[in-house]
Symmetry: C2
Subunit: 337 residues, 2 copies
C-alpha cells in the first residue's frame, strides 16, 4: 500500500518510474550550457508557427511525441495526460496536446507545474489508474513576456533581479514499467506568502515556498540533507538562491553544497545577459529531462529532491496590489539498478 | 482494487463519499429559481472586497469554510485541496484558499473544473492518499466579463447565444467517511474540437465534448441511458442542449427525458434576461451543492451522471483566430442508504 508520510507527503510502495522524457528548447537555450543536451532545439523561436502561443503549443506537442517515441508508446496507450503552462487559461496546453487525444487533466501551478504534473502522474500510476501517464509543461519567452510584462517590441529595460523565461517544453512518460529512475515519493506544496509584491523579483517571492516544501519533505520522510545527492529547485535564480540558503539556515539546515537551481544552470549568466537566471514552467522541465534524469539514470546521483517553484500572480492581481505568494512541489527521484 | 473501465473511466471499489458541501452565490443567483437553496448569498456582489477578483476569492474561501464547518472538519484535517477558476493564472483560487493552508493542486479545465476537481479528489481518497480532500471552484460575473469579454462599464450588448456567468462558488469535502452520496466512478474527458470559433456561443463549443464524455461513460461502464436517473451537464444552456440532443441522437442515444443542464435551471431565462443560460465554473458547482446533492442524498435520484463542461479558450487564442475546443468530465454519483 502507498503510505501517507507526515503532513504533506506520500511514499509509493510500488514506485512508478519515469520511463522516458522529451525536451524541446529555443535558440537562446541552445546556446547555453545545456544546449547540446536537449532532444530538439530550433533557431526559429516561432517553431514554424505564426504566434508565440502557437509556437509554445508546437513545442509541447513535440516534447510529448519525443517522450512517447523514445518508449515506443502510442498516445492511445497513455491513460491520462497532466499538463499546464503559464498562459491565461492554459491555452498552450489545450492547443498543444489536443491532437494526441489523451484524456486530460489541465493544471495550473505557475512554474511549479512540472512538479504538480509529475506528482499526479506518479499518484495515478501507483494507484493503478493506468499503466502510463504523461506529464508535460512548457513556457516561451515571447508568450510569457506578452502575458506578464511587456510585448517584446517595446524593448523594455529589465532589472537585474528579473528572470529570463525559458523557451522550452519537457514531457515525461510515467508508468509501471521499470526504468532506471523511480519516483519514490512526493511532497505536495502549500501556498506560502511573505507579502512580497515585486513581479520583477520572482526569486524572492518563491524562495519561502521552496524552503517550506524542502523542510516539510525532510521532516515527512525523516531524512537529513545528507540523504539527498542533490536538492534541485526550479527557477529561484541567483537572488532566490541566496534567500533560500538564509531561510534554510534559519530552520537549522545547510543545503549549500547540495543545492542546484535549474534557472542558474540553463543559461550562462554573464555571456547570455540573463540577469537573475532562467524561469518558467519549461525551465525545470527541460533541465530535468536533459540534465538531471541522465545523471540519475547512470547512478551518478542516487537520490534527488526535485522542487519546481511557482509564483502565483497574474497581471490583474499584481496591478490590483495583491502580493505574490509562492508554491513548490517536491518530487523524490531515485536511481534504480 | 480500483478498476480501470474501458478507455477513459475508473470505477472505485471502495467508494469515496461527498461528506459535505458548501455553496455561495451572488444577488442575481439569489433571485433565481435556486435562490433559496444556496447556503449563502449576498446582495453585494463584491462580497466585502474592492475588486471582482477579490470578491471571487472571498466566495471561494467561504464555500470551503462552509463545507468544512458542516462536517466539523478543520482545514488541517484535509489532506489536499483541488481547486480552480476561470481567471488568468487561477488567481481567484490562489488568493481564495491561501489562508486555509491545505496543500494545493491548482487546476484549469474552464467550466469543467468542478468535475476535474471532484475526479482527482475521489481518485486520491480511493487510493488512500488521505482521509479527506477538498474540491472547490468558482466564477464571478464581474471578473469573468472583465477577463473574457468587456469591462461591465462598457455596457456591451450580448447576443442571445451568450451565457451569463454565474457568480458563485461550490466546495465539496470528499472522503472515506460514509455519507448518503458516493462517487462510484469517473470518466476523464478528452479535448473535443469541432472547429467552432464563436466565443459568444459557448454552448455550441462545449456540446460535442459533453456528448463524447457521456457516450464514453455509457460504453466504459456498459450502461444504457436508463441506468441513470439524470444526466446533468454543467452549462450548455438552451443552444448547447439542442446540439447535445442532436449529437446524442446521431450516436443512437436519446437522453431528452433524462437530461438537465445546470445553466438552464439556475436562472429564469425570461424574467432574468440571461439569454442562453448560466455558465462558469461556479454554475455546475453551486447547482450540484444546493440542488443535485440533496436529491441524491434523499434517494430521489439513485444514480446521476454529472458532466461539467468547459470551453478551452483565452482572449489571446480567440483573438488570434484559434478555434474553441471543449472538454467535459463525468462524475458518477450514487445514493447510499
Amino acid at each position: 500500500m502507498n503510505q501517507i508520510r507526515g503532513a504533506q507527503s506520500i511514499s509509493f510502495e510500488v514506485s512508478p518510474y519515469i520511463i522516458s522524457s522529451g525536451s524541446v528548447a529555443g535558440s537562446k537555450e541552445a546556446e547555453g550550457p545545456l544546449g547540446k543536451l536537449f532532444d530538439m532545439t530550433n533557431q526559429d523561436d516561432l517553431f514554424g508557427a505564426k504566434t508565440w502561443e502557437e509556437a509554445e503549443s508546437n513545442m509541447q506537442k513535440e516534447a510529448c511525441v519525443l517522450a512517447l517515441g523514445k518508449a515506443h508508446v502510442k498516445p492511445q496507450e497513455v491513460r491520462f495526460l497532466f499538463g499546464g503552462d503559464l498562459l491565461r487559461q492554459g491555452v498552450a496546453t489545450s492547443m498543444g496536446v489536443e491532437s494526441l487525444q489523451i484524456p486530460l487533466f489541465g493544471l495550473y501551478g505557475a512554474c511549479s507545474t512540472s512538479g504538480e504534473a509529475l506528482a499526479l502522474s506518479a499518484m495515478s500510476v501507483a494507484a493503478g489508474y493506468g499503466e502510463r501517464m504523461l506529464a508535460v509543461t512548457s513556457s516561451h519567452f515571447g508568450s510569457a513576456e506578452k502575458e506578464f510584462r511587456f510585448p517584446l517590441g517595446y524593448a523594455s529595460q529589465r532589472p537585474l533581479s528579473a528572470h529570463w523565461t525559458v523557451t522550452g517544453s519537457g514531457a515525461f512518460l510515467v508508468g509501471a514499467e521499470k526504468s532506471h529512475v523511480r519516483i519514490s515519493g512526493v511532497t505536495v506544496g502549500k501556498i506560502v506568502d511573505y507579502g512580497l509584491k515585486d513581479s520583477q523579483n520572482m526569486g524572492a517571492c518563491m524562495a519561502p515556498a521552496a524552503m517550506d516544501t524542502i523542510v516539510q519533505n525532510l521532516e515527512d520522510f525523516g531524512r537529513s540533507v545528507e540523504d539527498y545527492d542533490r536538492i534541485i529547485t526550479g527557477d529561484l535564480g541567483y537572488v532566490g538562491q541566496d534567500i533560500l540558503f538564509d531561510l534554510m539556515q534559519g530552520k537549522g539546515y545547510d543545503i549549500r553544497i547540495k543545492h542546484m537551481d535549474c534557472g542558474m544552470v540553463i543559461f550562462d549568466q554573464k555571456s547570455q545577459d540573463t540577469h537573475a537566471g532562467g524561469s518558467g514552467c519549461g525551465c525545470a522541465a527541460v533541465t530535468l529531462s536533459s540534465y538531471i534524469l541522465p545523471k540519475i539514470r547512470k547512478g551518478e546521483w542516487k537520490r534527488v529532491l526535485f522542487v519546481p517553484t511557482g509564483a502565483l500572480l497574474s497581471t490583474v492581481s499584481f496591478n490590483e496590489g495583491a502580493s505574490i505568494p509562492g508554491i513548490a512541489h517536491g518530487i523524490v527521484l531515485e536511481h534504480v539498478n
